[in-house]
Amino acid sequence: MTATLDEQDLQQGFEDVIAADQRIEPRDWMPEAYRKTLVRQIAQHAHSEIIGMQPEGNWILRAPSLRRKAILLAKVQDEAGHGMYLYAAAETLGVDREELTEKLISGRQKYSSIFNYPTLSYADVGVIGWLVDGAAICNQVPLCRCSYGPYARAMIRICKEESFHQRQGYELLLAMVNGTDAQREMVQESTNRFWWPSLMMFGPPDADSPNTSQSMGWGIKRHTNDELRQRFVDMTVPQAEALGITLPDPDLRWNAERGHYDFSEPDWSELKAVISGSGPCNAQRLAHRRRAHEDGAWVRDAAAAYAAKHGGSR
């Protein structure tokens, strides 16, 4: 009886914190479903940072100038750092990095659908910075106010760097559209490939997103998928115009009445296919991550054995 009353008090305290738009911290009581939702979301986010290193890493060795090589290498290194902050945030909820990595490489946890597309030209490096980091920022800026403290704080740091990535990507595209015909064509071709997958990064339409309202109620999510998608389109159209390139949607136009751009529906069956494992690169990305993790096992074992012999950790 007392236990139930305590539980009710705790639940009430939790709800008060959420209602007052304050932060839940690791030692605070939280409903199990809230914890689970957070673990799933933070892990998925961390995995996305790490898997996302692959498509861009694909061009580091071939970057066409030493300055571009330095910028790209630094960017991909930042993504590893983002993965580390996020796994650390997940650890405050009682799950460790190793456990989450196992779930990723066994396919039990997901990562962002966008990284299941290949990078086929150097323009993809710029377009990923512009559109993919851009979409990530739209998704993530509201998370800086997420109700769970460690996640919100990790997101503040990450958003600063993502915004940097977005600007650098855009700057590469500006250089390319002002370059040779071949470079301009590369930018247009890359944009054609990445436009729809970028719109899909916000997730399915609100009508098909059953978890959104609970996440919003908990202050984990602040805007619906469709709201964020619209915001992204509105921001991106003028940037595309400044580049002098065309977004591949014949129905994209300003709607003065709504004060927003109208745009076509992405092909949601493609998103479903990618999420369920049959995108262009799903198998490759997972196999790569699994191989790197397994190849590193002897190194991690050595570090653990050394620490056990000599005290202290790494």
Binding site: I71, V76, A292, D295, W298
Partner: protein, 306 residues
């Protein structure tokens, strides 16, 4: 360490605004992580009195190519490292070396006076034009033990070299050394700490890192061989005679290997071709493959700027 991540001063809550601002692109932070800006002003410094510009250019290529090729090998580790901390550390070391390479190649191009910039030198030279030592170009096959063994030897040697270049009469070489000694001290420390863990970790890690040392050892001798260009520039107060570094580097390596319970390999040095090696543009078969990858895109688009 590059520490580039701290340089963006954008308020996260204003990230939306910075998105909208992104059409203006004059933010100096954009070239971060490159290390070039720090010494840009000095790249055009006059060649010191009594120094042959062609020899100085060649010496800058030696130091720059070592860094460039080793950086490229380290960059192969991106998304392949055994742990995220190692992802960050290896990329950091690759970035530091790339930064050193960029300044040194730019200096080489400037004193050469033929209008070649860092990219012309990195992307348009064929293999015999490269002046790096073989150690930098060896593949490691994504074996972490091999990567650490190479990095230990390379960083112990380069740190000793840069320490003696702090008062080089060439202001750019001296500036690279001043920045580089801090970077290399970290690289050497990182490699040494991993050598201890692998050497004194498990039986398997001990075996693997010992095999890795054995594999790189034949290429250690070249590091201490003095080329004609170096000999001339030692006289002029610009260069260091690498033969002088041997004692110090041996001491460092012996101490690390002993603490790591590893055995100093006894393999004889790899042979030369008529006494010529990397410093004279004679390389292993591996460099061609490194350059094929590094240069492919730049060469597909002659005259393009990126």
């Amino acid at each position: 360490m590059s520490g580039h991540a701290t340089q963006g001063d954008h308020d996260a809550t204003n990230a939306y605004r910075s998105l909208a601002d992104s059409i203006s692109h004059d933010d100096p932070g954009w070239a971060f992580g490159t290390g070039v800006e720090d010494v840009q002003a000095e790249i055009t410094s006059p060649v010191p009195d009594g120094v042959d510009p062609a020899e100085l250019a060649e010496y800058c290529l030696m130091l720059g190519d070592d860094a460039l090729i080793c950086s490229q090998r380290l960059a192969e580790w991106v998304s392949n490292a055994p742990e995220l901390e190692e992802e960050v550390a290896l990329a950091n070391i690759a970035l530091d070396l790339l930064g050193q390479a960029r300044v040194l190649l730019a200096r080489a191009g400037h004193v050469e006076g033929a209008g070649r910039d860092e990219d012309a030198l990195a992307y348009l030279r064929p293999e015999p034009g490269f002046r790096n030592v073989a150690l930098a170009e060896l593949p490691d096959g994504l074996d972490f033990g091999r990567a650490i063994a190479r990095l230990l030897v390379f960083s112990a040697w380069r740190l000793a070299l840069l320490n003696r270049l702090l008062d080089s009469r060439d202001p750019v070489v001296a500036a690279v050394a001043a920045k580089g000694v801090k970077e290399l001290a970290y690289h050497r420390d990182y490699a040494a700490r991993w050598t201890l863990r692998l050497g004194d970790g498990t039986a398997e890690s001990h075996r693997r890192v010992q095999a890795a040392l054995d594999a790189v050892w034949p290429h250690v001798g070249e590091l201490f061989r003095t080329s004609d260009v170096e000999r001339a520039l030692v006289e002029a107060g610009v260069a260091v005679d690498p033969a002088e570094l041997r004692g110090e580097v041996d001491e460092v390596l012996d101490e690390v290997l002993a603490r790591a319970t590893l055995t100093r390999p006894t393999a004889p040095p790899a042979g030369t071709i008529g006494g010529r090696g990397g410093r004279e543009g004679l390389h292993t078969e591996h460099l061609g493959h490194v350059l094929a990858e590094l240069q492919s895109l730049a060469r597909q688009h002659p005259g393009a700027t990126w």
